[in-house]
Subunit: 396 residues, 2 copies
């Protein structure tokens, strides 16, 4: 069709770029004439956490192209950094160009086909999310449900597996809505025995509570960038072992999402053994710079999260306590919303309420990675004490 | 289940965070002890483009929480900025937490139900992508195909619409693989007449070639952040008018993706009229800071792209030339790969080859937004002339 266009359509010049600016009817918005304002905050909620200067600086560097050789090197570094953080030798290890939910959908979309059985352990919000995601793409979803903060015994899991014969079993390692760190040992073996893939969410726990993907026979593991890794939100490490790869690369149907299709993502990340990487989508270059640095800090420090925050208020909400996010029962007679607003206003500090099923049951305080210092824990305790003193307390 | 956990399972302490570090078998990777390296480049390809210092600085600022009131203000600013850039008053105007492909999937997933008819105009790579996305979610896809650089007359479009009765018609405004800017006028009216939604991709054209969403009766419009807007990749503005909202909020089935479900995204962006925004996913805070500034620059300058790049090599590949990305026919007797490698090596400058169906047919040069200066055009021409002089030329 070379050269044919101008002969066929005489209005082309207008549409192609020479239209008069008199067509502009929406004026420039006044709000954009104000400078960008973003206050400095202590991010002591369940994430995002504060980003250290080195990681911020990386995210603010001049960018390069998403397909430049230097970008591939940075992506290779990220892959190695994730392998270390996950304690895995899996070749199929990448970062999503999106938040933890992108990893969640990627895991389910690629390893499950419509009509297949999926077993989901629900003891907070994350299992609910995965169940909904799996249902939307046509899986036959079976739910095991506990109240927030409850956990599942290996025996309960095996019994449900025998009954529902799932191709995928989902469990949340760090249930941030309940502040629970779920035991993992032995579950991978049960999944192997029943020919089921073991998918684990460590968004709120990675870098805070130990996880050993290979040793614990986890088939698919993902996390987010904005918790204990202290990078800005927008990237999400994920890894698949050979069992998971075998299932997802031998399917009959295509995954419902082109963007999250591991056939393409594995090529983009140089994991498929092909000599060249083809264009699939444009990755978040600045986000990858920042993620690379956050993983580098983890590799350099070999300092895993150690909890410095001791709970002084009331009783703990759960005994299997997640080190990164501490849930505390709401002090009797206080309005949790008022306490949180007071702490934000007077201490520039974010703490949060519950999430999903734990709303109204707990307050949540996160000290993750870079934020995990005794001075910060002292500051958080001081803010809580101040709120207890100054917020209204009912007589009840 | 409060307090019951420790009674039921005695191995919980190990799994919950007290396991010995002797379980670490994957050592910290040596590559992470090297500093991050990203060279300075002239990004004169079809995107991403160079990011101006003000936008980089915004992306490198300390972050705030994704649900803080100040973040909502920034998101409100982004919404207004997009409304201006798109020339629309649509309330349902947001940014995706992902690249242009996320917007592409969001548009299709939300407005189409399985079994419904979709008509896709293909004259380069982007129509192919949308057709594949629609097929994966179960749509009945009909393709109108032209060679790269070809375009569709309104008559051809109406005839296909009469034949296939689609609920959605897709057209690429800026076909960056072919360098074509497609005429838009009149097509929206045809779509209304046939009760079909008009979806337009302006990833490569927004801010470079005029587009008027409301006046041109475009029902769904999206773009990317990393082209003429000069923000880092990772966010993607999208807008739906009332017709599109009516279709997507009155569907019988849920969209296949929870992450891209506009029911949730419209709430997250404060577009659904509800008093509170609920947690859905964690948006890319730094990416939104940067996008806000890039839209502010657009609003301040009221300077739309004017092409300063004149083509001196051979003939132009298409007459409906896209101002942001110039496709040039490959100079006779030259190896385009060698020329591009030479220009990258000796001029630190990215230009690219074709994409998808235009591979081997064209070279592509983009001067977008911030990069669109005469001095840059001169530099690009100088680099091309140098490559023509120093790369091998066959006798053919």
């Amino acid at each position: 069709s070379l050269g044919a266009a101008s002969q066929e359509q005489d209005t082309s010049r207008d549409a192609a770029g020479l239209r008069s600016m008199s067509s502009v009817t929406i004026p420039p918005p006044a709000c954009m004439l104000r400078p960008l304002e973003a206050p400095l905050r202590y991010l002591f909620g369940p994430g995002p956490s504060n980003v250290p200067p080195r990681v911020l600086a990386a995210g603010g560097r001049p960018i390069i192209g998403h397909l430049h050789p230097e970008m591939y090197e940075i992506m290779n570094d990220i892959k190695k950094g994730i392998q270390y953080a996950f304690q895995t030798e899996n070749n199929m290890t990448i970062s999503m160009s999106g938040s933890g939910h992108a990893a969640m959908e990627c895991a389910v979309f690629n390893t499950v086909e419509p009509g297949e059985s999926v077993l989901v352990a629900i003891n907070g919000i994350w299992g609910e999310r995965v169940a909904e995601i799996a249902e939307r793409m046509g899986a036959n979803v079976h739910r095991m449900v506990k109240t927030p903060g409850g956990y599942f015994t290996n025996k309960e899991i095996e019994q449900a597996m025998q009954k529902h014969k799932p191709v995928l079993f989902f469990l949340t390692h760090g249930e941030s809505s309940a502040g629970l760190c779920h035991p993992i040992d032995g579950i991978g073996d049960i999944c192997r025995k029943h020919d089921c893939l073991f998918l684990v969410d460590t968004v709120a726990s990675l870098g805070a509570a130990p996880i050993f993907m290979d040793k614990q026979n986890i088939d698919i593991l993902y996390t987010g960038s904005q918790k204990a890794l202290n990078a800005p939100p927008g990237t999400a490490p994920i890894s698949f072992n050979d069992r998971a790869c075998h299932k997802m690369f031998n399917r009959k149907t295509k995954p419902v999402s082109y963007l999250f299709d591991m056939t393409h993502l594995s090529n983009y990340w140089g994991c498929d053994g092909k000599p060249a990487r083809a264009y699939h989508h444009t990755g978040p270059v600045s986000g990858f710079f920042a993620l690379r640095e956050s993983l580098a800090i983890l590799a350099e420090r070999v300092k895993r999260y150690t909890s410095t925050f001791s709970v002084i208020l009331q009783k703990k909400y759960t005994d299997l306590r997640l080190p990164s996010v501490t849930t505390i029962a709401i002090p009797k007679g206080y309005d949790w919303r008022e306490m949180l607003a007071y702490i934000m206003k007077h201490h520039q500090m974010e703490m949060t309420g519950g999430l999903g099923p734990s709303i109204g049951m707990v307050m949540r305080i996160g000290l993750m990675g870079y934020n995990c210092e005794k001075s910060n824990a002292d500051m958080a305790l001081h803010a809580l004490a101040d709120a207890l003193k100054n917020c209204r307390k009912s007589k009840a």
